[in-house]
């Protein structure tokens, strides 16, 4: 007679059925959870590898936004006279606070967009949910974000900018930034497997998107009415605007914020569906 332990072990033997794919792919959330450690390791690898060979290493994560912020401050604020939109927030802090979520998004797109093709050797040799690959690239931008956030904190102390109580919403906007970044990355990475043109499109896309997002100018520069509605179709408008509101108390999110946030979720959901559908052919095509 089998002991309880043995019986438990026998019952644990999982049964797997492999069949041709039909119709809509399921999300496979349970399986994703099962592979969470792989997600962790790949994220860790992406971060480690990014800074391993650079002499200044992880310092770049702080230097990058500082340099951009200085250029913007001189160019847009001092020369072109772009302001922060509210008198008590210095332009340097204003633009730095915009750069943080923006950089998270931009870095995600450029690293996650090419991630599937870059990891072709994994895809053709080992099974795991393919979602892990772009997700780990997006999550891999978080350390950069945190370092940049540290710099911003110092900057705020220097300029004596005190955050309001809205700061409790900050994690929500970081999450929204991640969801948006992952949503777009899912599209780009899956498309890149099928069309190698994507590689050339990504830099343009990031550049154009940057100008359509209120990073170096305040949302108050956008005329009200239809222009503003169209402007908020950009999911990053809500992310950057909301991030700034939570931190600096500028321009509270209005009804148009919800339009932008809904766009984030839409892009994410559609990206997820498209990715899961295309996933079947990755190993055959890549």
């Amino acid at each position: 007679m089998a002991t309880d332990a043995e019986r438990a072990r026998l019952e644990q033997v999982p049964t797997l059925v492999i069949e041709p794919p039909r119709g809509w792919a399921r999300l496979g959330a349970r399986e994703l959870w099962h592979y969470r450690e792989l997600l962790y390791f790949l994220t860790w690898r992406n971060v480690l590898v990014r800074y391993k060979q650079a002499v200044l290493g992880v310092l770049w994560a702080g230097l990058n936004p500082i340099i951009t912020m200085l250029v913007f401050t001189v160019l847009f604020n001092k020369i072109l006279g772009v302001g922060s939109g509210s008198g008590d927030v210095p332009y340097a802090v204003f633009t730095f606070a915009g750069l943080l979520p923006w950089n998270l998004f931009a870095l995600s797109l450029s690293s996650a967009g090419t991630s599937l093709v870059g990891n072709a050797n994994l895809i053709t040799k080992v099974y795991f949910p393919r979602l892990v690959i772009p997700s780990s690239s997006v999550l891999g931008t978080l350390p950069d974000f945190l370092i940049g956030f540290g710099v911003l904190t110092v900057l705020m102390v220097v300029y004596q900018v005190v955050p309001t109580w809205h700061v409790v919403f900050l994690p929500f906007f970081v999450l929204l930034a991640l969801v948006t970044a992952l949503g777009v990355s899912l599209w780009l990475s899956a498309l890149y497997v099928l069309y190698r043109d994507v590689q050339h499109v990504i830099p343009f896309l990031v550049q154009l998107w940057f100008f359509l997002t209120p990073v170096f100018y305040p949302t108050s520069e956008i005329p009200a009415g239809w222009a503003s509605v169209v402007y908020n179709l950009n999911p990053m408008t809500g992310v950057v605007g909301g991030f700034r509101w939570a931190l600096l108390g500028q321009q509270p999110p209005g009804p148009l914020f919800w339009l932008s946030a809904a766009m984030s979720l839409l892009v994410f959901a559609a990206g997820l569906i498209y990715f899961r559908r295309m996933e079947r052919v990755f190993a055959d095509v890549v």
Partner: protein, 436 residues
């Protein structure tokens, strides 16, 4: 006995023409989309159009019992790897159904996901996770893995500073500590030095011995015979033979005769066109005649024509000498004693190797060329063999003309007889031979 893997009616189709149609860049995709209605009109009636279908596998039915070690053999492109890829869920089948009972671990390549910039320690964790181990599991086996790999002193060194041998050993060590209930192995044991290969085979045998199910794809008939209890042969996407390892391997090898015959040339160059190609292999006698049967009393020469496209000091070219039932009697490489290293410079060279007189017995033998980059990967994996007949005419004894049993027939030398003087020393043959 329960069934670990049950495959029924499995098929995998690739669309060859569709690849072009499917458009590899956006411009084509847009053009295709725009012209699709027109094309649909033109091709009305012919549903499949001019897309070429290729069934890499079709109608495969296979049951693997729990604890069985199944060998899968077949020529390149027969569908073996596709089968493994479907079983390990890397690619999806077009038709059929597979039911697998148990956790599956697959080993289609060594060192998948290894990153050159990361240290040995970091790569152990990364690779372990990629192969499906949990962090706790890797932590528990970490010391064993390091010990197995024999690289303990280099754990903190980036893998890019490793020699190829160290890299392969580390990669194997991680893989060898996988503990799934069902292990799928593609030909990964074919690189690495022999002692290490043996260690890996030993580890695999231990896995098989502990009641795990193994599906093992290989060209190495000796490994297949020693590891597998059952072997199936796949040919053009179908299972064409199924039985005990001995029986299937023997039949498989004797069917390969087709590549040999009287003219002992290989039908097409083997290897990688950007690195090194083996363009011909001949078995000839002293006069350069490629015609058997060869006389065992005379030396027989193996000639391998090699085109070196890109020079690399790591090239090894050689051959397996096989017996009629597929046993490797000897593998011989250019990597012999140092004084003997033939130069492999860019261009065409012909390597000639002597099989000495009075070495082979009467019967059929095969020479299968091999080439590799030292401890890195195969260029030619010994799957194509040419066959030749040997007629034994060297004398072992003036009294017996019959051929004695044996895969080889070297003349051995007695160097001592029994202890006549009773002083514990053997008398040399010359001393006790009665003088006539």
């Amino acid at each position: 006995m329960s069934t670990a893997v049950n495959i029924s009616g499995l098929g995998k189709r690739y669309l060859i023409g569709a690849q072009r149609e499917r458009a590899d860049n956006l411009r084509d995709a847009i053009t295709n989309a725009a012209t699709a209605p027109v094309r649909r009109l033109r091709h009305a009636g012919s549903s499949s159009g001019h897309v070429n279908e290729l069934w890499a596998l079709r109608g495969v039915n296979l049951k693997v019992e729990t604890g069985q070690v199944l060998g899968v053999i077949g020529r390149n492109g027969a569908g073996k790897s596709t089968l493994l890829k479907i079983l390990s869920r890397i690619t999806q089948p077009t038709e059929g159904r597979i039911v697998i009972n148990g956790r599956v671990g697959s080993l289609l390549e060594v060192g998948t996901g290894f990153h050159q910039e990361l240290s040995g320690r970091e790569n152990i964790y990364l690779n372990g996770a990629i192969l499906g181990m949990t962090r706790a599991e890797i932590g528990r086996k970490f010391d064993d893995i390091v010990e197995f790999s024999e690289i303990a002193g280099f754990l903190e060194t980036p893998v890019k500073r490793y020699s190829t041998g160290m890299f392969v050993r580390l990669a194997f060590a991680v893989a060898a500590h996988l503990e799934p209930e069902i292990l799928l192995v593609d030909e990964v044991l074919s690189v690495g030095d022999l002692a290490f290969q043996r260690k890996c085979l030993g580890q695999m045998e231990a896995i098989a011995g502990s009641g795990r199910t193994v599906v093992f794809v290989s060209h190495n008939m000796t490994a297949v015979r020693s590891l597998c209890s059952r072997v199936v042969e796949i040919k053009a996407g179908h299972v064409v033979a199924d039985g005990t390892a001995d029986e299937i391997v023997k039949a498989y090898i004797s069917n390969q005769t087709a590549t040999g015959g009287a003219v002992l040339h290989l039908p097409q160059p083997l290897g990688r066109p950007e690195e090194l190609l083996v363009t011909a292999t001949r078995v000839i006698d002293e006069q350069g005649r490629p015609q058997g049967p060869f006389h065992s009393s005379r030396p027989i020469y193996v000639e391998i024509d090699v085109d070196v496209v890109r020079e690399n000091d790591g090239y090894q070219v050689g051959f397996d000498l096989l017996s009629a039932d597929g046993l490797i009697l000897r593998t011989w490489h250019t990597d012999g004693p140092e004084a003997d290293w033939p130069p492999l410079r860019a261009g065409r060279s012909t390597l000639r190797c002597e099989l000495p007189a009075a070495f082979l017995n009467e019967g059929r033998y095969a020479v299968a060329p091999r080439a590799d980059v030292y401890r890195t990967y195969w260029l030619v994996n010994g799957e194509d063999a040419i066959w030749f007949e040997v007629m034994k005419d060297h004398l072992e004894s003036p009294f017996s003309l019959a051929t004695g049993p044996g895969l080889v027939a070297p003349v051995l030398h007695w160097c001592g007889a029994d202890d006549r003087a009773g002083d514990g020393k053997l008398t040399a043959v010359e001393e006790y031979r009665p003088s006539s």
